[in-house]
């Protein structure tokens, strides 16, 4: 017989096995009920109670992720903020509250922009502190009222405009961005480009400001100036007000700014980020494509603003000239629309209305696949064609001196 394991041995084994079990169970418990699940359940209750909508919607349970690849955005905000896209929801509190500006959501759909593109914050996180910040290792906090109150408790500045301008920086003025618009006007009035290069042109007396918003906090010199909070935004504000007090060796003159203007300009600075990875469709106001000659620009402007703009907007003019409005089609594949009422009768034995309702030949394909017009649009088209017809007939009468 061999010596058996001692009792002590087995008790030790039991003890470590129990420790292992406890640790495993502890992990499961810690992980079990994240806060967001709680918010989702309450959202379901709100929707069921007030809207009788088709719930439970299983798609809305679990982690919600919006991935916008062109922007490198991964946003999980809608895991808690489930009411954002609702136009009418019986909820006033966060996180279920719908977006206060649905028109902004329509022009910036969440599927194409995410949430953090406009609001800041950490899209990866699923907990409130991590997502909103400020957090020690995530530099872009949520640009909300809470953060802004640290700068002006009575009148918190709209810091989110900084993010608007990351894309809208090439527009002269954008509705909905009053502070940034003011800052852009100041840049024009004060002549900043005399000393600073911005977007490829300007002076060399001061640093190039094209990507001023990308400069890391560690690269700023806070040895002379130290504000509360110790932030780059505060640095800029102080620097705009009195440059020499923040950078003793600076040659930047005092540009005599009020506090509100200094804040606006600082926000503008922080919005100027390197947009090299953004696709053109995300940059309104930026000019792409070949340079046009003044004649070409004038021609295009005339087309857009002429009486026959309808035919240009709806691309009819690609095939049809409209003599009445001096619109020349590049191809002339179809008859002149100023004569359309006559042409329809002659060629197809139909009135114009009937022809548009039941087109034949090429127009059948065109109106089916290429230029689908709603009934309302067809009515407008008929109106416009009739008007062109009138104008053309009058001209004919004037020219030939003969009443028709």
């Amino acid at each position: 017989m061999i010596p058996r394991l001692s009792r002590r041995e087995l008790i030790v084994l039991l003890a470590v096995a129990s420790a292992f079990l406890v640790s495993g169970v502890a992990v499961l418990l810690v992980d079990a009920r994240p806060t967001w699940r709680h918010y989702q359940e309450q959202f379901e209750d709100i929707v069921r109670e007030h809207h009788g909508a088709a719930v439970p919607d299983e798609e809305l349970r679990g982690i919600q992720q919006i991935w916008v690849e062109p922007l490198g955005v991964v946003d999980r905000c809608t895991t808690c903020h489930q009411g954002v896209q609702w136009s009418d929801l019986a909820a006033d509190e966060h996180p279920w509250r719908p977006h206060p500006h649905p028109e902004l959501l329509r022009s910036h759909p969440v599927e194409e922009y995410g949430c953090t593109s406009c609001h800041g914050g950490q899209g990866y996180a699923l907990d409130e502190d991590g997502a909103h910040g400020p957090s020690q290792h995530w530099e872009e906090p949520l640009l909300g009222r809470g953060l802004a109150a640290a700068y002006d408790a009575d009148d918190p500045p709209p810091l989110y405009e900084i993010r608007c301008n990351v894309c809208h920086r090439y527009e002269r003025e954008t509705p909905g961005m009053p502070v940034i618009n003011r800052a852009k006007a100041l840049v024009r009035d004060k002549g900043c480009v005399i000393c600073h290069a911005i977007d490829g042109s300007g002076g060399r007396f001061g640093p190039d400001l094209t990507a001023a918003g990308d400069k890391k906090p560690g690269l700023y010199d806070f040895s002379v100036y130290a504000g509360e909070p110790l932030s780059v935004l505060n640095w800029h504000i102080a620097h705009f007000v009195t440059p020499a007090e923040v950078v003793p060796t600076s040659i930047m003159p005092d540009i005599d700014l009020e506090a509100a203007d200094a804040l606006a300009l600082s926000m503008l600075m922080m919005s100027w980020r390197d947009d090299g990875r953004l696709r053109p469709r995300y940059l309104p106001g930026a000019v792409y494509g070949e340079e046009q000659s003044p004649e070409e620009m004038e021609r295009d402007r005339r087309l857009r603003e002429s009486e026959g703009a309808f035919f240009v907007e709806n691309t009819c003019y690609v095939c049809h000239s409209v003599e009445a409005h001096d619109i020349q089609s590049p191809t002339d594949m179809g008859p002149d629309l100023s004569r359309a009422p006559e042409t329809a009768r002659a060629r197809f034995s139909k009135t114009l209305d009937k022809f548009l309702a039941e087109p034949t030949g090429t127009m059948e394909t065109v109106l089916e696949s290429h230029i689908p017009l709603t009934e309302a649009q067809k009515a407008v088209a008929i109106e416009e064609i009739r008007r062109a017809y009138e104008i053309a007939r009058n001209r004919e009468q004037i020219r030939t001196g003969r009443p028709d």
Binding site: R7, A17, V25, L28, E59, W86, S369, P372
Partner: protein
């Protein structure tokens, strides 16, 4: 084996083995469950395509989504434009004149058909494949109206059959 000391040790041994066995359960769950993904970096399966009134009567092709949205007055349905043969995008070829047709037991008015440019497969407008190498009819996807903003919503994760209509 009747020595109480031995019996105690035998019990302790079994107890220790049991606890170890039990402890392996949360460990196995943690290691196993962590391998199951919770989020997907893919195009979303469910997406909105616009409010019902932006869609004209008939067939509308959504190129980026590879999808046809079909409207018959107030009834909508969605057909995938992905050929069931090798995945090319099919085109819709409308007829000059509508035809009465019976396909797989269903009699209806057909206004056109789907044609695949890659290998010549053709499908009736209710999706049934009738010529070419395609092995199955075109897929119909579930549609509903998003409660939050009233847009039409397609769910490519839910297939439906050709009786499906969304009436708005």
């Amino acid at each position: 084996m009747s020595d109480p000391a031995i019996q105690r040790r035998s019990f302790l041994g079994k107890l220790a083995a049991a606890v170890l066995g039990l402890a392996s359960l949360p460990a196995a769950w943690i290691l196993g469950r962590s391998l199951v993904p919770n989020v997907h970096y893919e195009a979303p399966r469910r997406y909105k395509v616009g409010r019902p009134d932006v869609f004209p009567e008939g067939v509308s092709f959504l190129e980026e989504r590879r999808l046809f949205v079909v409207r018959e007055r107030n009834a909508f349905h969605a057909i995938s434009a992905i050929c069931t043969h090798l995945g090319c995008t099919v085109k819709y070829a409308p007829f000059r004149h509508k035809r009465e047709m019976a396909v797989r037991g269903l009699s209806y008015t057909s206004r056109g058909e789907f044609v695949c440019p890659c290998h010549g497969s053709r499908f009736r407008d209710e999706g049934t494949n009738f010529t070419g190498p395609a092995p199955r009819p075109l897929v119909w996807y579930h549609m509903d109206v998003a409660p939050e903003d009233g847009q039409l919503r397609i769910d490519t994760g839910r297939e439906v059959d050709r009786d499906f209509r969304l009436t708005v």
